[in-house]
Amino acid sequence: MKDVSISKWWAGVSDHDVTYSFLHSPVTIVATVATILMFAAAFGASFLTIYTPFDPGSLELREAFMPPAWEQGGNSEHLLGTDGQGRDILAAIMYGTQVSLVVGILSVLLSVSIGIPLGIIAGYYGGWVDTAIMRFADIQLTIPPILIALMIDGITRTTLSSEVHEIVAIPVLIISIGVASWPQYARITRSGAMVERRKDYIAAAKLIQTPTAAIMVRHVLPNVIGPTLIVATIGVAVAIIIEATLSFLGVGIPSTTPSLGTLIRIGNSFLFSGEWWITFFPAFTLVILVLSVNLIGDWLRDTFNPKLR
């Protein structure tokens, strides 16, 4: 009985246009596999590697500056080599990716949860409500997200002691990136809401005295959320880049819990003394991660937006 329903479900899924489009886009398949692998490596780091690179007690200075395994002087115990303090690069990348993904995903969730409600309210009500919300969004859009993040970081750094700051660094970063990028989600949602509110199914709901909030949640939201979530996928990649940039500049994630950006910054100073691997591998991971997420986002956008086809 259960098998039947599962096979029926699978028949439905495999016959679906989305599945078809996915299976006929090799680039998307590769990007998805890469993303899944990176997610698995990042969140399964504590099972996949014996090293705990950010535990101060595990520093092995004797093993510092070991090149990757295939280079002369390399060692199969440290596949991608070690950094100046003897930390395993591969393990550092795994933990670093974890931090980058957490920051990327949570900050997008934050901006989406600000942007979607404000966008729906602006688009549905129109008039001065719309003007007020969207002007505010416009003003915020003129300030680059990095600048906003720098500002918030600066404020927390001066008001909080350095120990406290280290603990709150990641939440602060998430909030600053999240707050900085809500306007684009609000814009997309708003334009969708403006179209939907004129449709007669909204009038039909008004006719039976449905409260406005209920109309927005039950009718408008399900009909406008799709495009916003697709853009949010690409937003994750952008947030990871912003986080990496900030961390590279030294104002993001502290070096005690490094993200990919922090690792690139740390390795950057060794680039000219020949220890290229310390910065190259984190940077390479960042590129692949951002590229994969972007490619998936592009595919989602093309598949679910018939106008582009």
Partner: protein, 331 residues
């Protein structure tokens, strides 16, 4: 208000501010622009009958439908439904009661159903809003009954709107409209987006339901043949005003207002019997309507008085006509 009337509309005015944004207006020294979509309209509908509004696009007939439905707040005038004045009703429970008795069927079968909802939820929405079901099972039972009543099958409730054709969707709209057990249905061009053969099915369904449930219809259409088939009384509208209100038999056998006459002559004739005479000109911009009788620039009977003085509805036999030429026995 007479007992037999379910709806009375008195002096309904519906103005819309269509001015450009404030700053633009200030820079170009433009005055505020007001679109008088409906300008002083009165009619009443007898219980169990069909009253139709007909006119060309932009004449305000759909605006009347939406104002009566309560989707617009009228600029002026009264809308009295079952003795309750909708335009001035403040009491929430009264409004709820009025809106339960009144439902609407929309023109586009594509835009009037939420694409993300299952058909059974679409139909059940009014049942839930007015708490008309004792429990979930009762609700499903009612929904299934409605689906069968409009000629769909009970299992169609599980599907989404996009799985249905235009005609079937319009059946779903009707089922939904009936779910709150209304007495009065507002039908805004319910078949104009459908193919002719499907239109006949929907019109037949609507007449059958009217007989069965004793419904009253306010029917809006631009198609005089459909109007003729459906109506008991007809109001002809031109630029936000009504020019003639008349029983169906009178309209087609004895049209009085020059606009009504010309409109009847402009209908393409399937039998190719008479050669139709195209009406001169087009409907003027409603933001800047002509002076006096708004129809005078296109009217073959217009004189000086028509250019200056707005005619009011007068009684002629069973009909009401707003025309100076009719009043002066010139036609």
């Amino acid at each position: 208000m007479s007992e037999q009337n379910i709806l009375e509309v008195q002096g309904l005015k519906m103005y819309f501010d269509v001015s450009p944004p404030f700053v633009t207006r200030l820079l170009n020294r433009m005055p505020k622009q007001v679109l008088k979509a409906v300008d002083g309209l009165s009619f009443s509908i007898e219980r169990g009958k069909t009253f139709s509004l007909v006119g060309e696009s932009g004449c305000g007939k759909s605006t009347v439908a939406r104002a009566v439905a309560g989707l617009y707040t009228p600029t002026g005038g009264d809308i009295i439904i079952d003795g309750q004045n909708l335009a001035t009703a403040k009491d929430r429970s009264k409004i709820t009661d009025i809106s339960r008795q009144m439902q609407m069927i929309f023109q586009s079968p594509y835009a009037s159903l939420d694409p993300r909802w299952r058909v059974r939820d679409i139909i059940a929405e009014p049942i839930r809003a007015f708490k008309l079901a004792a429990n979930k099972e009762d609700e499903w039972r009612q929904v299934e009954q409605l689906l069968v009543q409009v000629g769909l099958s009970a299992s169609d409730g599980e599907k989404y709107p996009h799985e249905f054709s235009g005609g079937q969707r319009q059946r779903i709209s009707i089922a939904r409209a009936l779910s709150s057990k209304p007495e009065f249905l507002i039908c805004d061009e319910p078949t104009s987006a459908l193919d002719v053969s499907v239109q006949a099915q929907i019109l037949n369904l609507m007449t059958a339901l009217q007989d069965e449930l004793g419904l009253t219809y306010l029917f809006i259409s631009h198609d005089l043949a459909v109007i003729d088939h459906m109506s008991d009384w007809i109001g002809v509208m031109y630029l936000g005003r009504v020019c003639e209100i008349t029983p169906k038999s009178e309209l087609f056998s004895n049209p009085r207002h020059p606009y009504t006459r010309l409109l009847l002559e402009a209908i393409p004739d399937l039998k190719g019997r008479s050669h139709r005479k195209p009406l001169k000109g087009e409907v003027p911009n409603p933001i800047t309507p002509p002076s006096g009788c708004t129809f005078h620039p296109r009217c073959p009977y217009a004189n000086e008085r028509c250019k200056q003085e707005q005619p009011v509805l007068g009684e002629y036999g069973p009909s009401q006509v707003a025309c100076h030429a009719v009043e002066e026995f010139r036609i």
